[in-house]
Amino acid sequence: MSKLIEVKNLKQYFPAASNSLFNKRFLKAVDDVSFSINRGETLGLVGESGCGKTTTGKSIVRLHEPTSGSIHYDGKDITNVNMLPYRRKMQIVFQDPYASLNPRMAVSDIVGEAIDIHKLASNNKDRKAKIISMLERVGLNSEHANRFPHEFSGGQRQRIGIARSLAVDPEFIVCDEPVSALDVSIQAQIINMFEELQEDLGLTYLFIAHDLSVVKHISNRIGVMYLGKLVELAESYELTFHSLHPYTKSLISSIPEPDPKKSRLQQRIMLEGDVPSPLNPPSGCHFRTRCQYATKICAEQEPTFTEISSGHFVACHHCCD
């Protein structure tokens, strides 16, 4: 399997309001994260709000300029290059279908803009045909082309967002919480569409969401983030049934199962307290303040992200005890 995306030691720091003139403070949104995505696979990224999963996704398509580290696309370092040729290959679908479409542009222009920028259509007729084929691909039709975003429901808008990203024939799509703003009955429609598109077009996804059941359903492998760090990465069934990191374990046990009998028997691993501020993360292991297994070494040393078994990476001092 060839690696399509490779992220090496990615750091994304944002300057934060500092308490003194000389002491600059940074919010370490993503702190030393490395992983790769194989061609044709879906890598899921989960974590709670503020853990840096969206920032990671945006840094990969360079909507943020990484503070340090490198991003490789198909073997080539794209950390410091002109992105225009790569924008055709890497696209992103955003979380909020209400905010990510320009309300003053007709659907045909939203989808057509990408075609124009990359000069993918030789003439007007060709452009129109391309737009309509994109809309049909996502379950809309030619009638919808001249309407404006406000005329559509949330699910339909997300379809437009997906059509827009597909218009340039990409190989890789970052899906940033694409279903979390949608109603339950619509979520399944969009999830199935992502799967069908992947089968038909051979797409590679980075699927970011906070809902682990959705991520598990769609992904081949899953990465779990906590306070800017990747704490565990494994094949999705391995991760859900044989997780090693205490954070992943409690995350999985916290999901309320839509099944009353199982739910009554469910053993929850409760986490104490809240996520610490990313401006002032705990020393050593970031998770230690909420971890029931934390010992002295956790405060002193940051655990390394190591491969425990084939393809299963964990960053924890005590996962093998």
């Binding site: 709670e48 709000s49 429901s153 699910g155 339909q156 109603d183 339950v184 009955s185 619509i186 979520q187 399944a188 429609q189 999830i191 199935n192 799967e195 906070h210 682990l212 059941s213 959705v214 598990k216 359903h217 069934y237 859900t240 049934f241 409690s250 995350l251 999985i252 046990s253 916290s254 999901i255 309320p256 199962e257 839509p258 099944d259 009353p260 009998k261 199982k262 739910s263 469910q266 929850r268 409760m270 986490l271 307290g273 809240d274 996520v275």
Partner: protein
């Protein structure tokens, strides 16, 4: 005594907007006994929040109750004046809103906001009120409660704010707590904490809870009875086990099939419900779910189905059930 704590009968509520009348609630009836935990599930716009708000006497502006009655603990909410309602709200009847970020007043301290409720309903003594506020913060599991009392909402995290909201709601030990998507804005690990807390407090105080949510996992976890709403109508009502293991309405069945489960051991394709949610300005004539229903019949497009009783505690509004009942009767006669 078998008097119902909550008795909503044939409630009809419409919003009179510039674009036309929106029938937000269409013949909604709910009965609850003291101690019951009822879950109301539905998509956005299905009327689940409006049902709960109308029980609090909070009908948002262009909305008007056009029929039916709402009784709580022997009081008829829809006939009460604002003044009478105020005595009830926050006292016997409390609500937690969805968004803990916006439901606390940013310019008052946490302590101030909890004491306000107690001073209004329970006591005139500030000293007793502040002691009670401290106890409440302890009860909902906030660390360093003494310091928190003096803090402002912006100094607390989302999970903490929701705990404060719960403390305010519980200040006067209400008979009924309405929780409107109390955990939707929170992370899963925090959600688990809050749900656990609500379950514990329910046992301690013995209150009833109405849990409004779109998350089937949350209702499976918390509720004994479940009402499934679609387009302003309760389409199915039953015990949690009946709804999850013996669903009768096509919408309920569809919902259960369309959610991915964390415990699934192999990849199964989700079965989505086709189509889009109802446009409430132009609802279909018959059953509101008919345009999205795979087993839609002719009559479904013409007339609203009546409720069919499946058993004592389980009913649903679907023509298929009527047809099944009719078939058994006629076959029985033929034999």
């Amino acid at each position: 005594m078998s008097q119902n704590l909550v008795d909503i009968k044939n409630l009809k509520l419409s919003f009179f907007t510039a674009a036309g009348e929106v029938k937000a609630l269409n013949d909604v009836s709910i009965q609850m006994k003291q101690g019951d935990v009822l879950g109301i599930v539905g998509e956005s716009g299905s009327g689940k929040s409006v049902t709960a708000y109308s029980l609090m006497g909070l009908v948002p502006h262009p909305g008007k109750i056009i029929g039916g009655s709402i009784a709580f603990d022997g009081h008829y909410i829809n006939e009460m004046s604002e003044k009478e309602l105020r005595i009830l709200r926050g006292n016997k009847l409390s609500i937690i809103f969805q968004d803990p970020m916006t439901s606390l007043n940013p310019v008052y301290t946490i302590g101030n906001q909890i004491e306000e409720v107690i001073l209004l309903h329970a006591t005139k003594s500030k000293k007793i009120a502040s002691k009670r506020a401290l106890d409440l913060l302890n009860l909902v599991g906030i660390n360093e409660p003494r310091r928190r009392l003096k803090q402002y909402p912006h100094e607390l995290s989302g999970g903490m704010r929701q705990r404060v909201m719960i403390a305010i709601a519980l200040a006067c030990e209400p008979k009924l707590l309405i929780a409107d998507e109390p955990t939707t804005a929170l992370d899963v690990t925090i959600q688990a904490q809050i749900l656990e807390l609500m379950g514990e407090l329910r046992k301690k105080i013995g209150m009833s809870i109405i849990m409004i949510t779109h998350d089937l996992g949350v209702v499976a976890n918390m509720c004994e009875k479940i009402a499934v709403m679609y387009a302003g109508k309760i389409v199915e009502y039953g015990t949690a086990d009946e709804i999850f293991y013996n669903p009768k309405h096509e919408y309920t069945k569809g919902l259960l099939l369309s959610i991915p489960k964390i415990s699934a051991t192999k990849h199964e394709k989700l079965i989505p419900i086709d189509g889009t949610p109802v446009d409430m300005l132009m609802p279909p004539k018959g059953c509101p779910f008919a345009p999205r229903c795979a087993s839609c019949m002719k009559i479904c497009l013409k007339e609203m189905p009546p409720y069919t009783d499946i058993n004592e505690d389980h009913y649903s509004a679907c023509w298929l059930l009527q047809k099944a009942a009719y078939d058994t009767i006629t076959n029985g006669v033929a034999r």
